[in-house]
Symmetry: C2
Subunit: 145 residues, 2 copies
DNA sequence: TTATTTTAGTTGACAAAGTCAACTAAAATT
DNA sequence: AATTTTAGTTGACTTTGTCAACTAAAATAA
């Protein structure tokens, strides 16, 4: 299998996996929050003392777009901005109790999605699946695109 | 590793891979065609005597949206619709010479993207990568979400 | 056969998602 | 002190995608 063929295989996998994730997401997306919003929730919950810029860097999202989403979250009482003591330009983001509830709902729905995907496989297959994913991550992860 | 943990790992991989594909696509998307449009070109080129409905089914795309995209392609002289002899509701889609040129351009750019991603890996790693992808495909492929 | 339902595709109206540039204010650099 | 950079906001806009109503043809039922 030469390089050209390998590239074709990788692209075929990408199409397959894009479609799969698209299907999963589509189901999810009948919540009140978009995919981008769900990812933002996730980053806020996971990142300790995370700022808007951090999210911009992590998710490759437009800063204006993010600004508006955060403003909406704030207005909905889901998000709390705490200005940095040392740099007045920065605000650290965290979810309120209500925001955390929303996040948990989205998180549970995502879990359910995957659980459903995986439920029809027997245990051994799932173990293999996770192994392959880990390997792909390891091979592709370290450096940037 | 219990089921809960497996689900977390799979979701982590999905985030990782979504980001990766997103980065690749973003670069691509500075062509004149959107991701959806690129996929539509692809389906038309690959599918013999493919109709709009076939694409709708394959790509989970809204029929109104597709209709407009196809109309645009037609207006740009990229697409040819040939009405089915046996069913006047259906038109079979194919690319014109100009359309094929556009497709080839997009296709080459996609190849380049992947080639670049893979270039920094040594041959053995690429072989492994493709193997893992094939395995994931095999495990997840047969049934539907 | 006619009546009804389904399928393929189009169109209008709209909403959601994302982009771009101009701007303010603070911090860092020269 | 002057200039540049960084963080974030805002307005104006484009692109992308959705939904429902519609036409015409085909399939199915009566």
């Amino acid at each position: 299998m030469d390089r050209k063929e390998q590239i074709q295989k990788i692209r075929a996998f990408n199409r397959f996996y894009t479609d799969l994730i698209g299907l999963l997401d589509n189901q999810l997306l009948h919540s009140d929050y978009s995919l981008a919003e769900a990812r933002i929730f996730y980053e806020i919950v996971m990142g300790k003392s995370i700022s808007a810029s951090d999210i911009i860097a992590k998710l490759n999202i437009d800063k204006g777009y993010l600004s508006r989403i955060l403003k909406k979250f704030e207005k909905q009482g889901l998000l709390c901005k705490e200005p940095s003591k040392s740099d007045a330009r920065i605000a650290y983001l965290s979810l309120t109790a209500a925001g955390l509830q929303v996040f948990k709902g989205l998180d549970r729905a995502s879990d359910e999605q995957i659980r459903h995907l995986v439920d029809r496989l027997d245990e051994q297959k799932v173990i293999e699946l996770v192994g392959h994913m880990k390997s792909i991550f390891t091979i592709l992860s370290p450096s940037e695109v």
